[in-house]
């Protein structure tokens, strides 16, 4: 199989999920024979191409027309490259970037696409994928009919490979800029200005739910506990809706999917839509003042307590060592 990994980056470095996508691609290449290549799109991407070349051979497509990740252009380039090189499988980590861009590329390439893949196997020579449905209540095994196949994978489900000692080959893809679509105009992106790690990339996540009454308290309780632990902050949708937490923090079916070593849920009830985003964490701690809160069913350690009372003590204890 010829497998193409579409790399996601911020202009300077590769996003960690992309390396999980390489891990997935390598595992399939091992099973089916074949090769893995990565495609880096953007403008002034030399450092990204170099970084990616520690993991796979790289095709770099550098153009001022690709300075921002607009779906119509990116999808067209991806589809053209994949068709020209007869790729059988195109893969990226399941982020909003990939859902937007790879989804559109999938539409250009015939629609054989599976999103949020968490497992795969070869069944009688056929590649099948596991993916969650119904907010993760069900895991479905699916086969894709059609060629090429397009897949987004959940980063938490796949390990990143080790970088190679010697870099792989890199080459450039030339594009005809005048042939690119031009109907989406990028204006800006308001990045969050947080010193804390991204919720999908941290080893520990501390999340707050509706128990938290305002943003000051969120900072004072969730934020401070996270800082004590070197953790990222997350939240349930309830707090994002209330404007207490910013939307990049939302964990769940429609937010981010996380699987850290430790997930601490503070005053979160445990709705399936929230569980969908964190139930694969290694260790889950729930603190909730309702002993019957459903979150305890999905926790390894539960403490029935008022977060307003207990969290400051917890911060104090950890601080004291």
């Amino acid at each position: 199989m010829h497998i193409l990994v579409v790399a996601e980056h911020d202009g300077t470095t590769i996003r960690p999920g992309t390396l999980s996508a390489v891990g997935f691609a390598n595992s399939i290449a091992e099973k089916t024979g074949g090769k893995v290549e990565s495609l880096v799109l953007g403008h002034d991407i030399d450092s990204v191409v170099r970084e990616m070349a520690r993991y796979t051979p790289v095709l770099g497509c550098d153009s001022s027309a690709l300075a921002n990740p607009v779906a119509d252009r990116y999808a067209k380039v991806i589809a053209d490259v994949a068709s020209e090189r007869h790729d059988d499988l195109i893969v990226a980590a399941s982020t909003t970037y990939a859902k937007d861009i790879l989804g559109r590329a999938g539409g250009l390439l015939g629609g054989a696409m599976a999103s949020e893949v968490v497992g795969h196997e070869l069944r009688e020579g056929q590649l099948v994928f596991q993916r969650p449905m119904f907010a993760g209540a069900i895991t479905a095994t699916v086969a894709l009919l059609g060629h090429p196949q397009i897949v987004t994978i959940r980063a938490a489900a796949y390990e990143a490979p080790r970088p190679a000692d010697t870099a792989f080959d890199t080459s450039t893809v030339d594009i005809d800029e005048s042939s690119l679509p031009n109907h989406i105009c990028f204006e800006q992106v308001e990045s969050k200005s947080s010193d804390r790690p991204d919720v999908t990339e941290a080893r520990i996540v501390v999340s707050g739910g509706r128990a938290i009454k305002n943003s000051e308290d969120f900072e004072r309780l969730v934020g401070k506990l996270a800082d004590q632990l070197g953790a990222a902050t997350g939240s349930s949708r309830a707090l994002v809706d209330a404007g207490i937490a910013s939307n990049e923090l939302q964990v769940g079916q429609t937010g981010k999917i996380v699987a850290p070593d430790l997930y601490i849920a503070l005053g979160i009830s445990g709705a399936v839509q929230h569980l969908a985003g964190m139930k694969n964490s290694k260790v889950i701690v729930a603190i909730n003042n309702d002993p019957d809160a459903p979150i305890f069913d999905t926790a390894d350690y539960g403490l029935v307590a008022d977060v307003y009372e207990i969290v400051p003590q917890l911060i104090e204890k950890i601080h004291a060592g």
Binding site: T96, R104, G111, S115, E116, I184, D297, A299
Partner: protein, 250 residues
Amino acid sequence: MKILVPTKRVPDTDQKIRVRDDGKGIVEDDLPFVINPFDAIAVEEALRIRENSSEEVEVVVVGIGSDDYESELRTSLAMGADRAILVECSEELDPWNVARILQEMVQREKPKLVLMGKQAVDDDANQAGQFLAALLDWPQATFASKLEFVEQGLRVSRETDVGIEVVVVGLPAVVTSDLRLNEPRYASLPSILKARKKTIERIAFEQFGLAIEPRIQVLQMEVGTNTRNCIRVNDIDELLERLRDEAKVI
């Protein structure tokens, strides 16, 4: 201006989902269904555009599915949609085939804007909107949390993993809704009663000269199992001790 709003009928999100014995689908008996939450948001947004526009706006909802689908289409009518169309199709649908049928509907209805959900909460695919935009060669703005009409088309705030991204798309375009776009209204009793009397147009999908081309085949479904056994700790000392010595995560 016409806005086409594709909506899907999905199991109520509060319900427990069970798998059929053959493992090929879910048990649907007695399961209450609703408009896919993201699609209800799309309907609401279309209605708000109509309410705030000086030009005449027509909101047309379309659902692809079997006869059962009528009641959720009536809910959209009760919310205020001008027309509802049921594309009758009893075959299994995946996002590719949904997009192909919607492409035909777009050619028939010629909307300026297709406003739909970012994701159906049953298959959680998050694909049909992007597929449709690609098939139509229209611009797309996925995960919209704010829309504003501007001279060049539509300015859309998009919720991405790295923050809010703002793009301007020319019209016609496909826009998919995220949760924070709005809070859908409830239909009032009188409007529900009125919606009962409205006719729902019906089209058999075969009339488009299409055959379903399956792209995603579900071989097996399994209910996720929960293997955790919660240890109730008495206080934070015990919690910290267990996290350090037993789980070794801090």
